[in-house]
Symmetry: C2
Subunit: 316 residues, 2 copies
Amino acid sequence: MRIAVDAMGGDHSPSEIVAGAVQWVQHHKGSILLVGPIEQLSKELASYDYDQARIELVAASQVIGMEESPAQALRRKKDASIVVATKLVKEGRADAVLSCGSTGAQMASAIFILGRLPGIERPPVVVALPNGKGSRTVLIDAGANVDCRPRQLLHFAILGSLYASSVLNIPNPRVALINNGQEEGKGNQLTLEAYELLKNQSSLNFAGNIEGREILAGEADVVVCDGFVGNIILKTIEGMAMFIAKGVSRELGSVPEFFTQLDYTQYGGAPLLGVDGISIVCHGSSRREAVFNGLQVAADCVDKDIVKLQKESLEV
Amino acid sequence: MRIAVDAMGGDHSPSEIVAGAVQWVQHHKGSILLVGPIEQLSKELASYDYDQARIELVAASQVIGMEESPAQALRRKKDASIVVATKLVKEGRADAVLSCGSTGAQMASAIFILGRLPGIERPPVVVALPNGKGSRTVLIDAGANVDCRPRQLLHFAILGSLYASSVLNIPNPRVALINNGQEEGKGNQLTLEAYELLKNQSSLNFAGNIEGREILAGEADVVVCDGFVGNIILKTIEGMAMFIAKGVSRELGSVPEFFTQLDYTQYGGAPLLGVDGISIVCHGSSRREAVFNGLQVAADCVDKDIVKLQKESLEV
């Protein structure tokens, strides 16, 4: 297995990304194609002791910043690290690509280089959150698509259900729509219409609406929303964890062990689904542990062959 | 001061609502107009020792349920407790109304009976969240309006800023737009357009975009969003508090004191702004402490004369 890593994206690139990649080859039998300026990356690698045959450098001279328009940047920066890394997957030289850089640029690269799967208009990002039942709750779309149509939410639900069953091994996942009330008939224009599609035009195990309060309770296995709402849920959860950790630590003098499972660095990777290749989105603030964990997610997706599974699932 | 209380709304009506009202007259010099079926309310009141001159019963024979369409229910149920209670404010017999029932029905009653303030299309609900700086962050709209236009978000920002300065005593409140990224140019169609209005067409202390992660950090005093997003933020915060409290309590054998400040029962009331009268929305699961605290919020709004302040602020 070979994973292409965009070494130049995110707040702590390339040092923390290189560190995470080294750590991964030390613990996993796969290899890494590290994409970025060769000289800079060579210097970073020089300080580590690892099997040098398992990290190959691939040159890319440009980086797409967080503030750039993804579509424009993609046209102008042909040699951007995320572009080069995604092409490695397209050309069959890598089994997956991972980046901590601009999600928009990563998504645009995936769409234009790898292509969308049949029937998919907008590829969503999926994250697996810890829940109160000790298992995982899949949040989809976790931030890729800010303005969505009802049918796109149906696609997210199908892909999220597939991810829950095939990667997280949850049989017959209960799929719920995130809404501002549990009752049928609650919602904004988007969720009202999406509810109808989920109820009447899918063979999913649809459990109806779910409120923000229940997301982490574990009553549903897959929770569906547009990427604007998904981004805000994810970041509100993150902010709330920091807020409580601070308050509790002031009171007790230390942070309970439980908070480590709320730390996004423990998750690392969020797969971009609905594209013809494996592309793993990492948090912009990722440090080495997050990169390492993201690589584990990538490897898991390669092992499970999630692109093939998605194609089969979408054919039905 | 007299406050009309809808005794019939919410999960624990009327017993917990009656209990909260009794507790309030025992601690506050104001009086209560308790609205609902006289016989049932008399029985509830019989078990308490309080100054009977300070709780007056007002008859209402109907209740609007959570699942009913607010507009239809308002037409059909002329004698609903929320309708009768809101009319008491319109007629000058009460200074404010408080309900734990259907927010939609309360909002429709406020719009049709009290009327909207000049220029306001959609009255928002405002809540004051505790934040990491030990002060409060105003979230507006916290759930009243699910599909909004950009100009409505501008109105929410103006009303939220006024609430922060006049009721919470925060000078020159920093107003931020909740978005899926901090950079200008991030957002969905709604927030992109609202950003322009906030930046160019208001005299607010506009601080730009804020992500979910920063809401509780206290970097902004007022955070603005549509009511769909506001509902989901509020309930996600609630769910996260429960999830962490459970995890930490399993580890430590008890819940740290800090969690009490995250308990919605400690807040109680969320004023509905932009209407010509004071209407306080309480959580449907409110128990006596929440009703008591909601009545304190109502009294505070009466003392500060927030309707007059809003009228002055909207004239400018």
